[in-house]
Symmetry: C2
Subunit: 301 residues, 2 copies
């Protein structure tokens, strides 16, 4: 026997929807087929994967679910990568970008047009993981993503095999309202502001839950949650003293530099082309981040 990815897909749908019948509807199977898929998986792996009534993953099912997503994603990425290998270079460039990288993406497009003036290009803004997945599965030609990280550390991204190149590491600052007690300070330690009023804007900046990991501290309770991809809205909330947010210095004028733990705002380029032309990265960085020193070479992930 072997683990059939179709069954894995069914299994993930059942876990996600909490129902065999709903999964069947979503995937275009009968209820019976879904039941058979799960039964085959359980027999093959020799473990109960799901509790029934209500439907929820067992311990073993949770383990399988964690792997299944990565496997299915990689399968899609493989198909997309092969398709790209046989397709001739398209006449259009569709770039994805996280909200704070939209400007960078625009400059990348400008750099690309410097060599191909007639290039039809577009930029789509989405969350970091969405950009990474879309690049891996071929929905996007490339992407620019960013986020907080320890200096030199790559950003945590879904494992897709897409080559990643560092574009820049910039200072990370705590954005505060004018007149805030911290405003004008030379630097803050994140440990000291764990209990401040934070704005959780998970689609734009580092989710507070992840920040706790990076800062190695508990706390970071959200005083306000901001859903959406619009940066100016977040900046307005900060300016009107609704809470704090971590942002790159470039965006948050007057922010307070984070001095501890050592964290930077990192920007990365995701694109298959990176693999073939790592030598072009420094030139790209020079044109897009004039003020930033030359970054290291590309590395597959």
């Amino acid at each position: 026997m072997f683990v059939d990815p179709r069954f894995l897909r069914t299994f993930t749908a059942v876990v996600r929807l909490g129902s065999f019948s709903a999964a069947a509807r979503e995937l275009g199977y009968t209820q019976s087929a879904v039941s058979q898929h799960v039964a085959v998986l359980e027999a093959d792996l020799g473990a109960a994967l799901l509790h029934r009534r209500p439907v929820a993953p067992t311990e073993a099912g949770t383990r399988l679910f964690e792997h299944a997503g990565a496997i299915l994603l990689r399968l899609d990425a493989a198909r997309a990568d092969v398709a790209r290998a046989v397709a001739e270079a398209p006449g259009t460039l569709v770039l994805g970008a996280t909200p704070l990288s939209a400007g960078t993406a625009a400059r990348v497009v400008a750099a690309a047009r410097a060599t191909r003036p007639a290039l039809a290009a577009s930029v789509r803004v989405a969350t970091r993981d969405d950009v990474a997945v879309a690049v891996a599965t071929g929905a996007l030609d490339g992407g620019i993503v960013d986020g907080a990280a320890a200096p030199g550390d790559p950003l945590p991204l879904p494992e897709t095999g897409v080559p990643v190149a560092e574009l820049a590491e910039e200072p990370l600052v705590l954005a505060v309202a004018p007149g805030h007690a911290l405003a004008g300070r030379g630097g803050v330690r994140l440990e000291d502001v764990v209990d401040a009023r934070w704005i959780d804007a998970p689609d734009i900046t580092t989710p507070l839950a992840d920040l706790a990991m990076l800062a190695r501290a508990d706390g970071f309770r959200p005083a306000l949650r901001y859903d959406g991809l619009d940066v100016s809205g977040l900046l307005a909330l900060v300016a009107h003293a609704q809470g704090l947010a971590l942002l790159p210095a470039r965006v948050a004028a007057g922010g307070v530099p984070v001095v501890s733990p050592p964290l930077v705002h990192r920007t990365e380029l995701l694109a298959v082309d990176v693999r073939e032309r790592p030598d072009q990265i420094p030139a790209l960085v020079a044109s897009v981040f004039p003020a930033v020193a030359a970054p290291p070479a590309a590395a597959a992930r």
Copy 2:
């Protein structure tokens, strides 16, 4: 249609062996079946994957091959993880370790025995990737791996989803023979010793090809290749002036500290238990690396 992992396995065997018939022999199929597998893959993906006579992957085939290994490994890891979830805690502990981490693994066993004196434990030495794969597929209960890395960077490992915890970062030194021109120096820059006589010991220390990436320099031509997992043999070669090697300061007494680029010798723990008990890592580190500061929390990879 969907990409059947059995076909992927066949495809990787054909690429690896450079022959349909050899792949058939290895997998217990007929040549005909192998031919059909490849034909189905090519039809499904809409791309020629292999050149015939001689058999070699096309551009698209190379892309697929890179993904296929990761997918098949992850499939095995998923099966192993489910098996571990249903099995009760075994009475034995089988640890893997890279050559330079064998001593560390021994101390981890000692630490484990401190809480369970009757524990039957063993340590197996293998290469870094072999240890990672064996832990992922359930052949080992855990592993200790090490290697050169930029400070704070995780070691590059096969993507298996096994949780990784940092155990230590130590100074990295250039091991030289007594009386060597560099001996006694306060520090060396790797850029300055690119053209030295290097010993390539890929199973023990960083392969020279990878070192070129880390040091961002070309060169590092091997004057001597050392295959095998025995550290003392490598040390003897260095001591007898057969060439240079990069090693942790702890092992290479009298080595010259590497000052540029900033590199450290990093040691990591691979084990599923890390996920459940990240809080125990600091205590483990304290008992195994008394001289090293507390490391960060575990992170899944």
